[in-house]
């Protein structure tokens, strides 16, 4: 008599629906969010507690992830840093999604010269390197986290607009939209109440992937010194502050926040792709 492992008799397709990487990535992101929310409870030290006697310490029971040049505990700083590193991309995406989804839907719905105009504007913004645009905005309006979030939001809007437009174009041609028009429903109401909500699955997946990208871009800006500045605690800023220590042979101050950024971005990608696969295909 042969023994079968659980699930071995299920059709391959059903088994394939248990996406281990997605569960791992999703679980990790949940942990990061919990860590950010409960940072004051979890962190062993205050994130800005300076202890020059413990400067650039390696891992030890006192400092699980070591310390930076000022002797600040890296674990505490990474936990606190998760807050601005997660909230900033969220604000960025909210702005970009509002602009992008509106532009894309309007372009697809009205077609004609409205579409041409919006698509050309989008193309121009798309062709312009995003980071350069952001640096330009910062040069004009001054640096800081708010400016970089708003500027990045503007830079991301065209991408979302393009994607929304292509989705909305195919959705608009479906007979159920015609049925709403025959019912006497106005275009704005059809778009807001019915067309965009029917795109939400695909859009949410896309936004989750973009969240990872946004987090990375904001970290890059902070690293370059345009985004969050000292004394705020931000992963990108931590990498920048930690890079001098690399020369002195201490890798941890740059490595810890860098790893945090990389892991979160990868996790968002995995989850985002899965979400758009699952929700994007019609119900």
């Amino acid at each position: 008599m042969t023994t079968l492992t659980a699930g071995a008799l299920l059709p391959v397709k059903v088994r394939a629906r248990r996406p281990v990487p997605v569960m791992v990535a999703g679980g990790f992101l949940a942990l990061v969010v919990v860590a950010a929310v409960f940072a004051p409870l979890l962190a062993p030290y205050a994130p800005d507690a300076v202890d020059l006697s413990a400067s650039l310490a390696g891992t030890s029971p006192e400092h699980l992830l070591g310390t930076d040049a000022s002797g600040q505990d890296l674990l505490s700083r990474v936990l606190y840093g998760a807050r601005s590193s997660l909230l900033a991309p969220l604000a960025l995406l909210a702005l970009a999604a509002l602009l992008g989804i509106t532009m894309g839907t309007v372009a697809a719905w009205y077609g004609g010269w409205v579409d041409t105009l919006l698509s050309r504007v989008t193309d121009v913004m798309y062709a312009f390197p995003g980071l350069l645009f952001v640096v330009l905005v910062i040069a004009v309006f001054g640096d800081g986290l708010t400016t970089s979030v708003v500027a990045m939001g503007l830079a991301y809007a065209p991408t979302i607009a393009r994607y929304t437009r292509s989705l909305a174009l195919s959705e608009r041609s479906k007979p159920y939209i015609d049925a709403y028009r025959v019912q006497g429903m106005g275009g704005a109401r059809i778009c807001v109440r019915h067309l965009v909500p029917n795109l939400s699955g695909a859009l949410v997946g896309y936004l989750v992937v973009l969240f990872g990208e946004g987090l990375m871009s904001l970290a890059t800006l902070s690293y370059l010194g345009f985004g969050a500045g000292s004394p705020s605690i931000d992963w990108g800023l931590m990498v920048q502050e930690g890079q001098d220590a690399v020369v002195q042979g201490a890798l941890l101050p740059a490595l810890v926040p860098g790893t945090a950024i990389a892991a979160v971005v990868v996790a968002f990608n995995i989850v985002g792709v899965w979400v758009s696969d699952r929700l994007g295909q019609g119900r």
């Binding site: 009205y110 077609g111 010269w113 579409d115 028009r181 025959v182 429903m185 029917n198 119900r283």
Partner: protein, 294 residues
């Protein structure tokens, strides 16, 4: 209102589309017909004959190049060309009130119930949405009316709370019919409304439509390529070919004693006992030759 007074009068309807290489092709060319209140008209023809374009013009999804459509003697305002603020879609003028009034004149049931229903809404929400939009039923009355509509098309409690994906093709088409009836239209256009359903379900839906016509007095315009279906449900028939009307008259007369060679061809194309496909192909060749000689 006397029976003789037509619910729908269509005169000189034309629509042409630009061809890729330049020039235009006439999808619908000078089509006129009328349907009595509570009457039923079949519009038949093969693919590309322009019958679906006629259906879409009736409900305002396509703007006619010329011609008029009147319901109960009142002309449907076709919306001035370029009168809308934005291009692209045909935007009949007149604001919300006029839009809703037009909706209560003519409603449509589309061919494919798999894509003509909003996938996010349950049957109940779908009907409630239509009632709310027209604002003629509020609160309790709306809930009662939804129940009546579901009952009228033979959908039960389980179906009421199901989304389209949880309904069969026949049930979806019943819901699409209920949605059209929700606004109490004068005329109901059925664009190949049973073509996507299998034969036993077709019969049920046709019976349902006949019942609804008798109960509500709505006039039906039945666009179809299926002559058996048209014979079953219509009083009059209009045969279209390449955008033109080739024959029109009482359904029984048109189908039993066709005067036009094209109608005879359509009839001979229907598979039946002792049917010879080669004969159909030969007739078609003759007809094509005759048309070219015109």
């Amino acid at each position: 209102m006397t029976k003789a007074e037509p619910a729908l009068v269509v005169q000189g309807l034309c629509k042409s589309y630009p061809l890729p290489g330049g020039g235009r092709t006439a999808a619908v060319d000078d089509v006129s017909f009328s349907v009595a209140a509570g009457g039923s008209l079949g519009v038949v023809g093969e693919s590309g004959s322009g019958k679906t374009t006629v259906a879409r013009m009736l409900v305002g999804l396509v703007r006619p190049d010329a011609g008029t459509i009147a319901v109960n003697g009142r002309e449907r305002t076709p919306g001035q060309r370029g009168g809308g603020k934005l291009p692209g879609l045909s935007r009949p003028g007149g604001g919300k009130a006029a839009r809703l009034r037009r909706a209560r004149e003519i409603q449509i049931v589309f061919q494919d119930p798999y894509v003509s229903l909003d996938p996010r809404l349950t049957a109940r929400q779908c009907l409630q949405g239509a009632l709310r939009l027209h604002g003629r039923y509020e609160g309790e009355a709306a809930a009662t009316r939804v129940g009546e509509l579901l009952d009228q098309v033979g959908l039960g409690k389980r179906e009421a709370d199901a989304r389209p994906r949880g309904l069969s093709g026949g049930q979806r088409q019943r819901l699409a019919i209920a949605r059209a009836l929700a606004v109490d239209p004068q005329v109901l256009v059925l664009d190949e409304a049973v073509a996507a359903l299998d034969v036993s379900i077709q019969a049920q839906i046709l019976q349902l439509l006949a019942d609804i016509r008798r109960e509500t007095g709505v006039a039906l315009v039945f666009v179809s390529h299926d002559l058996a279906v048209v014979r079953h449900i219509t009083d009059d028939t209009l045969v279209m070919r390449r955008g033109r009307t080739v024959e029109t008259g009482p359904t029984a007369r048109v189908l039993d004693a066709p005067k036009d060679p094209y109608t005879r061809l359509l009839l001979s194309s229907v598979p039946r006992e002792g049917w010879d496909p080669a004969e159909t192909v030969r007739l078609r060749g003759e007809l094509a030759g005759a048309t070219r000689a015109d």
